[in-house]
């Protein structure tokens, strides 16, 4: 496999930040595919231990709300 060195920092960030444990059973996650949406990094995760599947989105220190249209 030829590694695309232009994005080595993204690969390193993925390796550092990808969730490792299932939020339901705390077992090791089988796979966490990272995708991006606007400013978010999202991880589509699957636990082969308990079957939990879901997305995990790191938020950092900020808990952002939203305002309805008015």
């Amino acid at each position: 496999m030829t590694v695309d060195t232009r994005f080595a920092a993204d690969a390193a960030a993925h390796r550092r930040d990808a969730p490792r444990f299932c939020p339901q059973c705390a077992g090791g996650l089988a796979i966490a595919t990272e995708f991006w949406e606007a400013d978010d990094r999202r991880f589509y995760c699957s636990c082969t231990g308990c079957g939990w599947t879901g997305e995990i989105t790191p938020t950092g220190a900020v808990a952002a709300g939203h305002e309805p249209d008015h």
Partner: protein, 418 residues
């Protein structure tokens, strides 16, 4: 984006690897029926291993690892006999179950043939293809998917592609690519080469969705001007785990087959059945197969037809695409779902269970869900676009196929008018 370890695991095909063990639970097409009629033994590469595939004059078929257990000469150069294949080097014979039945150079009282077995797989013929199973016994049933057993007029296009099969399978859960690769890009190529690309392929996607089901993943889309009541969403079409995709529309039924020959070579096959409403049976003593172009004389990808565009995208991703530095978006969620499915099935096999889509019950036919009114383009028009703008344009029976669609459409129109 995955880790390097996950990408490595996902793309393995060799025996003893988690994914290689999953892949060894399925049947694969390894030859055209006509090939063994022309010459009764063929060297076959499948899942990174070489085999000798043979068919005896009485119709018995077998597949064994290529290297003779005696001194490793190739059984693919063997002599096909009534009940097995004879090694060309010293004449040992192996039957369809892999039993050694003769060791001619050994004295009768010193033979050790019962101690040497060739680890044979299973072989069956279906729909103009020879299918092989080379995994652990007992072998499951060969799935009789609708395309292989339905009435209709057939042809098979194929090409060997220099890339891992997983990136081809990821394309099967990527609806958006149609709008651009077969829409905008097709238009661009057409402008430069002097043809008009089919309008239906460039329709804008409004919504996409994926549903896991017993054979894989159903892919759904709503295109601009349509709704969830249209076939593209209501029915969709399936990725058939782990190496097929069922597509169709306009009276065309197709299985797109992606056989992992080895880790970086995939045999891409387009098994197509033309069976529009109003179809009248046409005899086919032999199903024609034909190679589809990948690159031209200068090594440049041929992209003026639908599958050539797909091939360009798959192959230019690299022999094994670097998933550690890709950048997926929400529109790639089907790709993430497929990776999850692959990963889950590795664990299923590790637990000693059958993975998704392995069938052990005898059956006549498996009907797969597949939209009929594809891209709400109209049946006959979609079929003619498919013939002129897809790989069928290279088929040796193109004219017959077009006549079948036109006469079927005329017949239906006449019935409606009458």
């Amino acid at each position: 984006m995955l880790t390097a370890e996950q990408n490595d695991e996902l793309t393995q095909v060799d025996a003893g690897t988690p994914m290689g063990e999953v892949l060894r639970r399925y049947w694969y097409p390894v030859a055209f029926t006509r090939e063994l009629a022309e010459f009764p033994v063929k060297r076959v590469e499948l899942l990174g291993e070489f085999f000798a595939l043979w068919k005896s004059p009485s119709g018995r078929m077998g597949i064994v690892p290529e290297a003779c257990p005696h001194r490793k000469a190739s059984l693919a150069y063997g002599v096909v006999e009534a009940d097995g294949i004879r090694c060309p080097y010293h004449g040992w014979v192996f039957d369809a179950d892999g039993r050694c039945t003769e060791q001619p150079a050994e004295r009768d009282n010193t033979q050790f043939q019962d101690r040497v077995k060739a680890q044979a797989g299973k072989v069956e013929e279906m729909g103009g293809l020879i299918w092989a199973y080379v995994g652990p016994m007992p072998a499951p049933e060969l799935p009789r998917f609708d395309t292989y057993v339905m009435d209709g007029y057939r042809d098979i296009g194929w090409a060997d592609l220099p890339c891992n099969y997983v990136q081809i399978m990821e394309n099967a859960v990527d609806p958006h690519h149609v709008e651009f690769l077969h829409g905008r890009y097709f238009e661009f190529v057409g402008k430069h080469e002097g043809f008009v690309a089919p309008a239906s392929f460039g329709k804008e996607h409004v919504k996409i969705g994926f549903t896991a089901f017993e054979w894989g993943i159903i892919k759904r889309r709503v295109l601009k001007g349509a709704s969830e009541e249209n076939d593209d969403w209501k029915v969709g079409h399936p990725l058939v785990f782990p190496y097929n995709m069922r597509v169709g529309g306009g009276g065309i039924h197709q299985m797109q087959i992606r056989v992992p020959i080895n880790r970086t070579t995939t045999r891409f096959m387009l098994y197509t059945v033309h069976s529009p409403d109003g179809y009248e049976h046409v005899d086919q003593p032999q199903i024609p197969d034909y190679k589809i172009p990948v690159t031209d004389a200068n090594g440049v990808h041929v992209t003026n037809y639908v599958e050539g565009q797909d091939i360009m995208a798959w192959v230019t991703q690299g022999a094994i695409t670097d998933r550690t530095t890709e950048h997926l978006g929400r529109s790639d969620i089907g790709v993430a779902m497929l990776r999850k499915m692959f990963r889950e099935q590795m664990d299923v096999v590790a637990r000693g269970q059958d993975p998704l889509g392995v069938i052990r019950e005898q059956h006549e036919r498996i009907d797969l869900p597949c939209e009929k009114d594809k891209f709400h383009a109209g049946g006959a028009q979609f079929a003619l676009d498919f013939c002129d703008m897809g790989s069928t344009r290279f088929s040796p029976v193109l004219d017959t196929i077009k006549k079948i669609h036109i006469s079927a459409a005329d017949k239906i129109a006449a019935e409606k008018a009458g």
